[in-house]
C-alpha cells in the first residue's frame, strides 16, 4: 500500500510561508495532479513528500509509515520507495544514459542479469535503445526528458513524483509518455503525484486535480 498522507504540513523559507497547513490524502495507486501559479508551493510539496525538504510542522505518511513528523525526517529519502522526475531533470552528466538508469537499480540488490533485463525493457519502451551509451548532455531536450522518466520508472517505485515532466516535449511525445506512464502504473500499481501548470495534462491522465495557491489548497 502506498497512499500518501500529509497532515497540517507547514513550510517556511526565510520569512515567507511557502506551505500553510496543508492536509492531503492521495490514495494508493491513484493519480493526482497539483496545479497552481508559480511560487504557490507545488514543487516544495513534492520535495517534502520525497524527504528532500523538512517541513516545520506537520506529519507525512507513505503507506502506513510515518516518514516525517514535526520537522524531523524519520525515514531517509532513499528508503521511502519514491522515484522523482525533476523539473530540470537532474541527469548525471558524467554517466551515460544506461548508467543513469542503472545507478538506482544497483542499490536495490538486483543481479546483473535482472538489472540488464529491466534496463533493456525500459530503454525499448522509451525508445532510447540507440542512446544507451551516450552521455545525456549530447541528447535533445525531449530525449533527456525520456531518460529522466525512464530513470524513475525503472525502479518500480511505490510512489512516483513528477515535477513538470512534459515541459520540454512536443504533443506527440507527450501522448506517448503519458501512455507509457499509465501503462507502467497499471503494471506496478504505484501512486502518482505530478506537478503541472497545464490543466490538459490532468485531463489526459484522468487524474484528480488539487489546486494550490499561496501555500494553501484551493478547490480546483
Amino acid at each position: 500500500m502506498s497512499r500518501i498522507c500529509l497532515e497540517t504540513v507547514h513550510y517556511t523559507h526565510g520569512t515567507r510561508d511557502i506551505l500553510r497547513g496543508i492536509s492531503l490524502e492521495i490514495p494508493h495507486a491513484s493519480r493526482v495532479t497539483i496545479v497552481g501559479p508559480s511560487g504557490s508551493g507545488k514543487t516544495t510539496l513534492l520535495r517534502i513528500i520525497a524527504g528532500l525538504e523538512r517541513p516545520w510542522h506537520g506529519r507525512v505518511f507513505i503507506g502506513q509509515r510515518l516518514v516525517c513528523a514535526d520537522g524531523l525526517n524519520l525515514v531517509d529519502p532513499s528508503r521511502r520507495g519514491i522515484a522523482m522526475v525533476f523539473q530540470d531533470l537532474a541527469l548525471w552528466p558524467h554517466f551515460t544514459v544506461r548508467e543513469n538508469i542503472e545507478f538506482g537499480l544497483r542499490r536495490r540488490g538486483l543481479t546483473r542479469l535482472q538489472r540488464a533485463v529491466r534496463i533493456d525493457d525500459i530503454l525499448q519502451r522509451m525508445q532510447l535503445e540507440r542512446y544507451a551509451s551516450v552521455f545525456p548532455t549530447l541528447l535533445s531536450g525531449g530525449e533527456q526528458q525520456r531518460v529522466a522518466i525512464a530513470r524513475a520508472l525503472v525502479l518500480h517505485p511505490a510512489v512516483l513524483l513528477m515535477d513538470e515532466p512534459f515541459s520540454n516535449v512536443d504533443k506527440v511525445l507527450r501522448e506517448h509518455l503519458i501512455r507509457q506512464i499509465t501503462e507502467f502504473q497499471r503494471e506496478y500499481d504505484f501512486t502518482l503525484a505530478m506537478v503541472t501548470h497545464d490543466d490538459s495534462d490532468a485531463v489526459r491522465f484522468e487524474a484528480r486535480v488539487i489546486g494550490l495557491a499561496d501555500g494553501v489548497m484551493i478547490p480546483a
Binding site: A50, L52, A83, M84, A90, P93, F103, R151
Partner: protein, 536 residues
C-alpha cells in the same frame, strides 16, 4: 557548446584579446625566449653544449630530477588526501564552526613557505620545543625526520593543502543540488558522495592538484632550508656559482617537459561530457552530521592545531616582548607599505590579464589557444631567476628605464610568472557557464564590452574575486622575483625578512614573520568583508 574554434569575433573583442596575448608574450614569453636563446650560445656561437648534460644527464642530475618530481608528487598527493576530505567536511557538512575552521586552515597558504619551515624548525629541530619537552633524543629523531623528504612534504603540504581544500569547497558550490538529490532518492549519503558528488568534482580538482604539483616543483626555499637537493637548486647553482645564464636556463628545461606531460594528463581528465551543470541557484545540499558533527569537529580541530596553531605558536613563543613587534614594524614599515602596494597593483593587473587569457583558452578562439595555456603553466613553473634575468635582458634599455627602474618591472615579473593562476581560476568559472547566456546577448546585438561588463563579469564575479585574492597572496609572498628585480631601496617585506634573516636575532625574525602573516590577513579580511557586503 561554448568552445568553438570557428566562433566569430567582434572587432573590439579581437583587439582586446590580441592586446592581452601580446602583453603576455612581450612581458612573459619574450624574456624567457631570450634566455633560451642564450642557452644555445656558447662564446657567441650556436652550440648544444649546455644541453649535453640534459640529454645524457649525470647520475647526480638524474637524482635531482627524481627528487624534484618525487617531492612534487608526494606534496600533491598529500595535499589532495588532506585537502579534499577537509573541503568536503567544511563545505558540505554541518560540522560546527566550519567557516572559522576553513579560515584558520587557509592561513598557511598566505605566508611564504620558508617562514612555515622556520617555524617547524623551531618545533622539530634538534633543539626545538619538542626536544625541550620530551628530551634531546626525541629532538634528534624529529630533526632527522624534518630534514629530508618527509619534512619537505609535510611543510609544503601544510602550505598547499588549503589550495585543494578551497577548490573543493568552491567546486561543491558548482554542483547542482538536484543531481545529488536524484542520487539521494536511490541511496544514502556515502554512496551518493562516492558516485555523484566526487566524480562530478574530480575533473575540476585537477587544477588545484596541478597548481600544488607545479608550486612544489619550483619551490626552492623549503628544500634548501630542509636540506633536500632538488632541481631548482641546480638551476640556481648555475646562476650562483658560475654566473652562467644560459646554463641556468638549460638546466630548467626539464620542467618544460614535465609541464607538457601534466597538461596532457589534464586534457585527458577534462572533457565536455563530465561538465557539472549549474542549473539553479548557489545552494549546496548539506550533509547533516548530527551526533557525528562533534567527532568530525574534533578531528578537524586536531588538524588545525597541528598544521596552523603549532607553527604560529612557535613563532609567537619566540617573541618574548611586545616591544619587539614595534621595533620590527618600525624598521620594516616602508617595506610593508610597498608590499601591499605591489601586491594590490599586481593582483589587479593579473586578474584582468588572467581573465582575458582564460577567455581565449576557454573559447578556443584560435588553434593555438591551448598553447597559450601551456605557456602560462610553463612560466608558472620556471625558476624565478630565469624569468628575472630574462626581464632584465629585455627591459633594461635606455628607452625603457621608466619600466625597468620603477616597480613596473616587478609588476611585469608577477604577470610573467603568475598569470596561470588567475587564468586557470577564470577558466574554471567560464566552463560552468551555460553557453547560451552570452550568445543570447550577442544575438541581441549587444557589444562585446557590454556583454562582458553586464553579463560575463557578473556571472564569473566570484571567480574573479577569488582570482584577485589568490593573485594578491602570491604577489605578496613572492621572494624570488622581487629579490632580483625590485628597484634599489624599494624592497618588500618578504624580501626584507629574507635578506635580514642571516645573522639577525631569531626573535626579531619571528616578530617580522608574525607581522608578515598579519599584513596578509588584514587586507584579505577586509576584502572578504566587503565581498560579503556586496553579495548581501
Amino acid at each position: 557548446m561554448i568552445s568553438n574554434p570557428r566562433r566569430t569575433l567582434d572587432r573590439s573583442e579581437k583587439t582586446v584579446l590580441w592586446l592581452a596575448t601580446g602583453l603576455l608574450i612581450v612581458v612573459g614569453l619574450l624574456p624567457v625566449l631570450a634566455m633560451i636563446g642564450k642557452s644555445f650560445l656558447v662564446n657567441g656561437k650556436f652550440s648544444l653544449d649546455l644541453y649535453r648534460d640534459f640529454l645524457s644527464p649525470a647520475p647526480y642530475r638524474k637524482l635531482l630530477l627524481f627528487n624534484s618530481v618525487t617531492l612534487a608528487a608526494c606534496t600533491a598527493t598529500a595535499s589532495t588526501l588532506f585537502g579534499v576530505p577537509l573541503g568536503l567536511l567544511l563545505g558540505k557538512t554541518t560540522i560546527p564552526l566550519r567557516g572559522l575552521l576553513a579560515t584558520i586552515l587557509t592561513t598557511p597558504l598566505l605566508i611564504p613557505p620558508y617562514i612555515l619551515a622556520t617555524a617547524w624548525h623551531k618545533i622539530l629541530g634538534s633543539h626545538g620545543l619538542l626536544a625541550l619537552w620530551l628530551g634531546p633524543e626525541s629532538g634528534v629523531l624529529t630533526a632527522t625526520w624534518l630534514f629530508g623528504l618527509p619534512g619537505c612534504v609535510f611543510v609544503l603540504s601544510s602550505a598547499f593543502a588549503p589550495i585543494v581544500m578551497l577548490f573543493t569547497i568552491v567546486q561543491i558550490r558548482m554542483i547542482d543540488p538536484r543531481l545529488e538529490e536524484a542520487g539521494r532518492l536511490c541511496t544514502r549519503w556515502p554512496a551518493t558522495l562516492r558516485a555523484i558528488t566526487l566524480p562530478l568534482m574530480l575533473s575540476r580538482l585537477s587544477l588545484p592538484i596541478i597548481l600544488v604539483f607545479v608550486l612544489a616543483l619550483g619551490e626552492m626555499t623549503v628544500p634548501s632550508l630542509l636540506r633536500y637537493p632538488v632541481l631548482p637548486v641546480e638551476s640556481f647553482m648555475q646562476f650562483a656559482a658560475f654566473y652562467n645564464f644560459g646554463a641556468a636556463t638549460a638546466s630548467a628545461m626539464p620542467l618544460l617537459f614535465i609541464c607538457a606531460i601534466i597538461l596532457y594528463l589534464d586534457g585527458l581528465m577534462v572533457n565536455d561530457t563530465d561538465r557539472p551543470i549549474r542549473l539553479r541557484n548557489n545552494s549546496v545540499l548539506m550533509i547533516d552530521l548530527q551526533v557525528w558533527g562533534v567527532a568530525a569537529f574534533i578531528v578537524v580541530a586536531g588538524i588545525v592545531v597541528l598544521s596552523v596553531v603549532a607553527p604560529f605558536f612557535a613563532l609567537l613563543a619566540d617573541v618574548d616582548s611586545p616591544r619587539l613587534y614595534i621595533d620590527a614594524f618600525v624598521s620594516a614599515r616602508d617595506s610593508i607599505v610597498r608590499s601591499l602596494a605591489y601586491a594590490t597593483a599586481g593582483a589587479t593587473v593579473l586578474t584582468l590579464v588572467g581573465f582575458l587569457c582564460s577567455y581565449i583558452v576557454h573559447l578556443r578562439l584560435s588553434p593555438w589557444s591551448r598553447g597559450l595555456d601551456f605557456i602560462l603553466l610553463f612560466l608558472f613553473s620556471l625558476p624565478s631567476g630565469v624569468i628575472a634575468i630574462g626581464l632584465i635582458t629585455i627591459w633594461n634599455t635606455g628607452a625603457t628605464q621608466w619600466i625597468y627602474s620603477t616597480p613596473v618591472i616587478v609588476l611585469f615579473s608577477y604577470l610573467a610568472q603568475y598569470s596561470a593562476l588567475p587564468s586557470r581560476l577564470s577558466q574554471s568559472a567560464l566552463s560552468n557557464l551555460p553557453p547560451n547566456l552570452i550568445d543570447a546577448a550577442k544575438l541581441a546585438g549587444v557589444s562585446w564590452f557590454s556583454r562582458t561588463w553586464y553579463i560575463l563579469l557578473p556571472l564569473v564575479k566570484d571567480a574573479l574575486l577569488l582570482s584577485w585574492a589568490a593573485s594578491f597572496i602570491f604577489c605578496l609572498r613572492d621572494v624570488g622575483l622581487t629579490l632580483t628585480l625590485h628597484p634599489p631601496g624599494a624592497d618588500t617585506l618578504p624580501v626584507w625578512i629574507f635578506t635580514f634573516m642571516p645573522n639577525a636575532p631569531p626573535r626579531l625574525i619571528s616578530a617580522l614573520c608574525v607581522i608578515a602573516v598579519v599584513i596578509t590577513l588584514v587586507p584579505l579580511g577586509l576584502f572578504y568583508r566587503s565581498l560579503r557586503r556586496i553579495q548581501a
